[in-house]
């Protein structure tokens, strides 16, 4: 599994991507593991209490997890996960 970080999320992780040999079963498990690795700023960006922070955008293979099963979205080893803060422009 590849997890890619963008914009301010990169400043929390200090790296642009991370490859995981053993994919967590769900997005919740993945974000919990990443929060343990990267610390408080990442955890605050990812979670609002026990829920997904509404100001984070997470794509699994290009699909926003809000259209999948949110934190319960199942993950597999071949997945690419992209994590963004809210961004915009035009």
């Amino acid at each position: 599994m590849t997890v890619r970080f963008f914009a301010t999320i990169r400043t929390y992780t200090g790296e642009t991507e991370r490859r995981l040999d053993d994919a967590p079963a769900t997005l919740r498990e993945l974000l919990t593991a990443l929060a343990a690795r990267y610390g408080t700023l990442f955890r605050r960006a990812a979670f609002a209490g026990a829920d997904l922070n509404p100001e984070i955008i997470i794509l699994v293979n290009g699909r926003n997890v809000l259209y999948l099963r949110g934190l319960d979205t199942a993950l597999s080893q071949d997945d690419e996960v992209s994590i963004f803060p809210m961004v915009a422009g035009g």
Binding site: G62, R63, M86, G89
Partner: protein, 601 residues
């Protein structure tokens, strides 16, 4: 009047006359200013069959009621004219500080008509207006022109001008103001060039009268707090600029690549806002009264593309980047600098070069056509050289400067022009994001994203969410965005203020500044009126439902790679509902009942 100055300035370049007239309070109330009021002036005064580059076309510079106040990001104005690229009721929106200065000089609109016998510029210092000789300025780029005009007028004057592209009447020409801000789309710079008008300098000593200062102050402070608290308006755009969008559009599979042949570009990250911030950003920059500061002051040290200026925005980084198969950010930024200096639209030119690259690779044009240049995708030096040539109007560049539709059509293959109503689409692939496709197809100035930015909801999760892959509900979404944007454009607000505030805050500020009570419904109704006004004009140009479409590629050829692989745009599922919800018949014509409801004829 409050919010409005109450005066419109009219300059006839043929006769050399300068007149003033009162702003009609009813028109101001119903059309606000900028795009709306300017559009009404044009529709009232210009024959739709007029040659857009002839003396009978008019060019209206119009700020809105917010412009020049301390409302958030209140530096906007519109340039309204019959657009030479495609004949539409063109309104091209710009920031900077020219619009506020025009208000301070005392004007709700500046109407330019006729054609000067020789190159001139206009010097507006409050109520003293001069038409001055521009022989010594003609031929200069936009940076030098601004400096030269200021040297002859006032070093603090705000200057709008054309570069060489406008002088050549290139159909992709912009009007630049304050050197780096562009009224960029629909070819408004060509109209200015056709009138032999090189520049307008303005200096005003007045102020904008506010109807209820305490109410306005409260409304503005509330709006500012909301924008500053928003992750995008408050911090994101300042940190990374609009170019931050490269990665998220690529990761959803909707970053148009190699002239829209694909929707995914594997090395796009090299061209995104994160890379720009790390390598080129000198400082962020805002327009007048801006608390967002999305602008990028940038510097390129690479000797091959060295330069200093502003940008690129996301659209420019895409046009000269993935759409040309290029991931060299230094070259992209150089091309952007050149466009600012020549005064030419980065979106349309980038897309037109991409179109030429596809024509070249398919063998429809050869190096004989392209002045010996191997114009293949990914050829960085060729992209920069073609940008220069287009700005100069030199050789093959002169064809590029007329846009991709005319280019591709001239070689017998208009199907490779990625345009709607002959204007190039911007940087969101409608196969990966359904609603933006409907917006492009129904866009009343052609391919355009800033008049119905459904991306905010379909991709960016801004306030609400709708799945980009579905078509249900997208007609209503598009109409809401189109109407809201028409109203806020006409008020003189910046689109990016909606990353924090919406119609309720805009209506409250508008009521406080003008003294006219606008409910949210009335504010949105103004937007609907303006949208329909533009539609009525376009119908006079011969546009029909057949033109409310997308390039066939986007309807039939699936995206080849990336997350949206296999997707096409399903416009047919959305368009009938769009007409129905608009109150238009199946030919896309507004019904009599709708026109009566909107007080239009």
């Amino acid at each position: 009047m409050f919010g409005w100055t109450g005066t419109i300035l009219r300059v006839d370049l043929t006769k050399g006359t300068i007149t003033r007239e009162a702003t009609d309070p009813k028109l101001a109330r119903d059309y606000l200013g900028a795009r709306g009021l300017g559009g009404h002036i044009l529709r009232s005064e210009v024959d739709p069959k007029t040659d857009s580059l002839g003396p009978d076309n008019k060019l209206v510079f119009a700020p809105g009621p917010f412009t020049g106040t301390f409302a958030p990001s209140a530096g906007r104005f519109n340039v309204v004219t019959k657009g030479p690229l495609n004949g539409v009721l063109a309104a091209s929106n710009s920031g900077g500080s020219f619009g506020p200065e025009l208000k301070y000089a005392g004007y709700d609109a500046l109407i330019i008509e006729g054609k000067a016998a020789k190159p001139v510029y206009l010097w507006i210092k409050d109520d003293q207006i001069e038409i001055r000789d521009a022989a010594a300025i003609w031929g200069h780029n936009t940076l030098d022109t601004t400096d030269l005009v200021r040297a002859e007028t006032d070093e603090d004057a705000k200057v709008s001008c054309i570069g060489p592209a406008g002088e050549h009447q290139a159909l992709l020409a912009c009007i630049m103001n304050e050197m780096h801000r562009a009224a960029g789309r629909t070819g408004v710079g060509a109209v200015m060039g056709s009138k032999n008008l090189k520049a307008i300098a303005v200096s005003g000593s007045g102020a904008v009268k506010v109807a209820d200062p305490e109410r306005f102050k409260a409304a503005v402070m509330k709006a500012r707090k909301l924008i500053q608290a928003h992750p995008v308006g408050g911090a994101g755009l300042k940190a990374y600029g609009t170019d931050v969008l490269v990665n998220i559009l690529n990761q959803v599979g909707a970053l148009p690549t190699r002239n829209y042949q694909d929707g995914y570009f594997p090395t796009a990250d090299k061209t995104g806002g994160e890379s720009l911030a790390a390598k080129q950003l000198v400082r962020p920059k805002g327009c007048f009264s801006c608390i967002i500061s999305c602008g990028r002051v940038t510097k390129v040290d690479n000797p091959a593309y060295a330069g200093y200026g502003e940008g690129p925005e996301y659209e420019s980084a895409w046009g000269f980047g993935s759409d040309c198969g290029i991931d060299d950010l230094d070259a992209i930024t150089k091309a952007n600098f050149l466009c600012n200096e020549y005064g030419i639209d980065t979106i349309s030119l980038g897309s037109t070069i991409a179109c030429a690259m596809e024509l070249f690779e398919r063998g429809f044009i050869t190096a004989k056509d392209t002045d010996g240049v191997q114009l293949t995708f990914g050829n960085v030096a060729a992209m920069v050289e073609m940008t220069r040539k287009a700005g100069e109007g030199e050789g093959f560049g002169a064809k590029l400067a007329q846009g991709s539709y005319r280019l591709a059509e001239s070689y017998g293959h208009p199907e490779y022009s990625m345009t709607c109503k002959k204007q190039e689409m911007p940087a969101y692939d409608p196969r990966g994001v359904q609603g933006i496709g409907l917006n492009y197809a129904t866009g009343n100035r052609g391919g355009c994203h800033v008049r119905g930015y459904t991306i905010a909801i379909e991709v960016l999760q801004n306030g609400a969410v709708m799945d980009p892959r579905i078509t249900e509900g997208k007609a209503g979404l598009d109409i809401t965005f189109q109407n809201l944007t028409a109203a806020l454009d006409s008020a003189g607000a910046c689109l990016f203020s909606t990353f924090g505030i919406g119609a309720p805050e805009l209506a409250e500020m508008l009521s406080a500044v003008t003294g006219v009570e606008y409910s949210v419904d009335e504010f949105m109704k103004i937007g609907e009126r303006i949208w329909n006004q533009e539609r009525l004009w376009n119908l006079t140009q011969g546009y029909t439902t057949a033109d409310d479409t997308l390039p066939e590629r986007l309807l039939k050829d699936p995206i080849k790679t990336g997350p949206a692989k296999g997707e096409v745009n399903r416009l047919g599922e959305m368009l009938p509902e769009y007409y129905q919800l608009r109150g238009w018949d199946d030919k896309g014509v507004p019904s009599k009942a709708k026109l009566k409801e909107l007080s239009l004829n």
